[in-house]
Symmetry: C2
Subunit: 684 residues, 2 copies
Amino acid sequence: MSYPLYAAIAGVIGLLFAGYLAMSVLKEDQGTQRMKELSQAIFEGAMAFLNRQYRTLIPFAVIIFGALLYGNWGNQKLAWGQAISFLVGASFSAVAGYVGMTIATKSNARTTAAAMRGLNEALSVAFRGGAVMGMSVAGLGLLGVSVLYIVYQDAVIINSFAFGASVIALFARVGGGIYTKAADVGADLVGKVEAGIPEDDPRNPAVIADNVGDNVGDTAGMGADLYESYAATTIAAMLIGVTVFPGRLEGIFYPLLIGAAGLIAAIIASFFVRTTEDGNPQMALNKGLWGTNVLTAVATYFIAQSLFADIPASSAFPSGVPLGLTISVIAGLLVNVAIGWITEYYTSYNYKPAQHIASSSLTGPATNIIAGIGVGLKSTALPIIVIVIAIAVSYNYAGIYGIAMAAMGMLCTAGMVVAIDSFGPVADNAGGIAEMAELGPEVRKKTDKLDAVGNTTAAVAKGFAIGSAALTALALFTAFAEEVIKSPGVSSALHGGHLVLNLLEPKIIIGLFIGGTVPFLFCAFAMEAVGKAAFEMIGEVRRQFREIPGLMEGKAKPDYARCVDISTRAAIRQMIAPGLLAVITPLIVGFGFGAQALGGMLAGVTVAGVLLAIFMANAGGAWDNAKKYIESGKHGGKRTEAHSAAVIGDTVGDPFKDTAGPSLNALIKVTGTISLIIAPFLNL
Amino acid sequence: MSYPLYAAIAGVIGLLFAGYLAMSVLKEDQGTQRMKELSQAIFEGAMAFLNRQYRTLIPFAVIIFGALLYGNWGNQKLAWGQAISFLVGASFSAVAGYVGMTIATKSNARTTAAAMRGLNEALSVAFRGGAVMGMSVAGLGLLGVSVLYIVYQDAVIINSFAFGASVIALFARVGGGIYTKAADVGADLVGKVEAGIPEDDPRNPAVIADNVGDNVGDTAGMGADLYESYAATTIAAMLIGVTVFPGRLEGIFYPLLIGAAGLIAAIIASFFVRTTEDGNPQMALNKGLWGTNVLTAVATYFIAQSLFADIPASSAFPSGVPLGLTISVIAGLLVNVAIGWITEYYTSYNYKPAQHIASSSLTGPATNIIAGIGVGLKSTALPIIVIVIAIAVSYNYAGIYGIAMAAMGMLCTAGMVVAIDSFGPVADNAGGIAEMAELGPEVRKKTDKLDAVGNTTAAVAKGFAIGSAALTALALFTAFAEEVIKSPGVSSALHGGHLVLNLLEPKIIIGLFIGGTVPFLFCAFAMEAVGKAAFEMIGEVRRQFREIPGLMEGKAKPDYARCVDISTRAAIRQMIAPGLLAVITPLIVGFGFGAQALGGMLAGVTVAGVLLAIFMANAGGAWDNAKKYIESGKHGGKRTEAHSAAVIGDTVGDPFKDTAGPSLNALIKVTGTISLIIAPFLNL
């Protein structure tokens, strides 16, 4: 039983390290009074968003808490265990969100101030600011799972920890995605177009909401998303481990220890993140990521060796258990790397796809849009091939447990991935603050350099989030199949046999078709929601310009918090429809048509969801960078027809990459965690 | 053995009726000399396209012919039977294409001339002109399958008839889809924009190609597509019938007789298609469709009763075989009706979706595009629900054979559906000829009325084609599972058991992922191909304007045929990449990873392909009609910002609805027919 304790200790170390990073960031100089004010406004806006979001979720959480108690009432340990695990999973996500967002939004002005001193100083502040979120996510995820396991000693009980995480992630992704684009449109349309004031002007009531939006999407949304993947994968792997290694607990402990290894590796590798005055900050971040990967890979082998050396090779583990597991984890780590490269190829303007979109802009918006959609559709193939290879390799060396371990290998580095991803909005806001506070060009040059790196890391992290969602979904799918057999309705029909989801059964095909349709419908809802929330946001910004005297003259301060609150409420209200679609469909299919149909649906949601998510994320990223390519002076530069066309493409791409795409990750996983929770109640 | 003979006779009757219709149309007055010339040019263009297309396919056909011989060389009857069936399937498709296109393109000026006399006369000519394609498709399909069955008495041998049909359909859909949009862009961009001459001006070398394009897409493409669905469904149903009714042949005959019933019903119902001077031509066409549906439904029951009355009810047929089969066929017929309504709702500008896109155009092209994509994504849900209900109902009443019968019920009306669909381009061209020949407004009013109906029928036929492709794919999928067991590599591994495609096996999941990705990649290729072919077309049009002296002054005739040939060659060349992707992927997966992975891939291609096809067809249709809604005077009408935005949406929608969307049907089915052909050679 000492292994879960080691994992819990690693979680605590991660949190202590997050605390250390937070303190070190908060000690940094905040710069001028103006910079402080701007930073404070963004911080308040972010908190207003989180407050409203979590407040809205309380009734949902209470209903689910009650349902878990009620559904399992016959087994008091299970009932309370699941209900409490759910609450812990959800509240740890909220805690990570609060802590991470607080520090991230308090790091922006400090990064700007550090940029006055040097590039490495600025990089260091921004990275440490983002790493608090990364370490909190991984630390709380690992601590939660391992402590709950120590308490309940049953992976089935604690799987509602992942369910709690996934409900929060769904709301954080969809709500946050709607929010960030509504604020973006509100700030641009009313401020820039109607009122005629420049971008990032502090007189614009929505400017802070817009800056908050960056954090909401890339810090809070991504954090909740990967926290969920982390928790769900760990627990699914533990559930599969129970079956694969009957009679021994190492199959349960191994995922926890891999998580611990990844977290400690990330802490060590975070010290590699440093650059010189003329260096490339991207290289510094890469060193952090590669350091984490290599250290984890090495640790993986020794842990597997110490746990499984006594088990002989078998058909599931033809090269022996330790080597098989190590290869699986490394396959997952390599998926990270490969998807990062592929995403960069399809979205960066240094490569053909985005350049092709840029040159298609010369003949107008229609050809720009067609080219962008073409690039997005095409970009699905390579990531799928990478995922498929990882499945094949890990399965061949370590059976179904191997697939879960590949997912674990991908996700155990989440601490570093979230740290690097959260670095993006900090750098972006730092640039905005430098702009608004009218600092010298040598400062802006440094913040611009960091911002550019942040754009790349954001696109790469999106690829990571989707790829890991795919592997997590497969782990959940396998765990579902293991768990559903324990349902009396299923086991009696199967006469003790294994669950088979035969694609030739019409029930499964029906489930597959319905599952495939859900992501399409969900995307449509999410995109419509952006339109409606933007409409409400526009109303509020117009009202403030109209009703607050002296605002345009700079004599009065706009009500940033109210603006943020309005757009938050609009986002939360508009996310109800897609959220309910995601939560209710598996319940209808599972209880209405049975476990087989639900199994088919899980597969359909995963395949269609992953494909649509890759399509949307990469099309959006490529449109964005095609515009930036033209703005860099190509094809005539700004204020040309080509640029206007590229701006239209970028606008279409915004809800693709920042709302619908990322929300699909949450959809895929919440379908899996709900299915796992209701598995014991299903009929065949 | 007399039943297949009856089906063959029904096929001959269908062809005789097509001949009668053709003669009656050719007897009609062609109008003025100018009208004759224009019609002749379109006819020549269409033939130039078909000539080039079929010529290109000869080497492909020879390779496949050789491969079928070589692969089955050990069994001479099978080898020659499959090779010959393949050739017959492909050449009958070509014959239907030639005959149907000839009459359709010879009916346009005759329809215009008839419109001088009255609306019913014009409707009658246009409908008869289109019905030749409809009756040829159904007649040749039925004749081919039944005669080959009479000759070989083995459904396994003749399944390569469907394979031949599907290869032609793939090329017809992809090549035709690229062609029609390349010609459209070439005519618009060089003629209207660069040379400044009006739309449909006979001096524009691409104007005929543009008019040909309408026929190529909606007549030849749709005809080949539904001919393929018809053949593939009939044969798949026969293959399933062998297993479901062991020891008796009625399961093989029934699909043939349903086909015969549908064809005779369509012939009878075609006499219901008439209208009054003030009547609604849509109602006249609806009478034809409903007449076919009702007559077929009634016939279905009596045929089932006479074939299966002696078989007692069983678990697969809880209400007895005759009633179970009748319900299944009616379920298929109702899918037609329901998908027709749903498609009309999502694409017609009388309803909210297209109007929503139109009002989103007020805020520019970006919101127009986002709204259109939203509508397209949303429109996937209802058709899938309809298909899923049809699967559930037909399976509950008649087992897996019932699902094939639902597909058969949908497709046995193909004669009428293709007739109504081919009516569209005839009416469209008739309007263009009236315009170019400067006929009076009372004639144009009538042709406009017919053209408007043609737009609706085109959208509805697209829905029909996708829905039937989905059911056909399921029938092929089931037939594949039946056939693959006969492969030595599979049967030895299964030890005589049934094939199970367990979604929990990583091989199946890998197949599913790869299958899901293929439609995405295929769409990207198809959309890129349109861009490249349009580029070549533009070059040719520019060349003619530059090099033919006196062209702009109207003193010299442009070289329509060469323009058509150039764009045809460009289209054919550009379709190689998507075509090869479609043909080669199942071979790689099947031979490389085995029957299970291929089964998973079939499911993935079907689900993702159907969803993408519905999305693309409906988004494209809705964008088109949103533009027409604004042109009808709403939101300020033509020459407004909103109209420009709607034009951009329409341009994006063009390759969606006319290239990528329809090609996906062919992709889905060719994947199925290839899998069925290679089934006997696979390992598990």
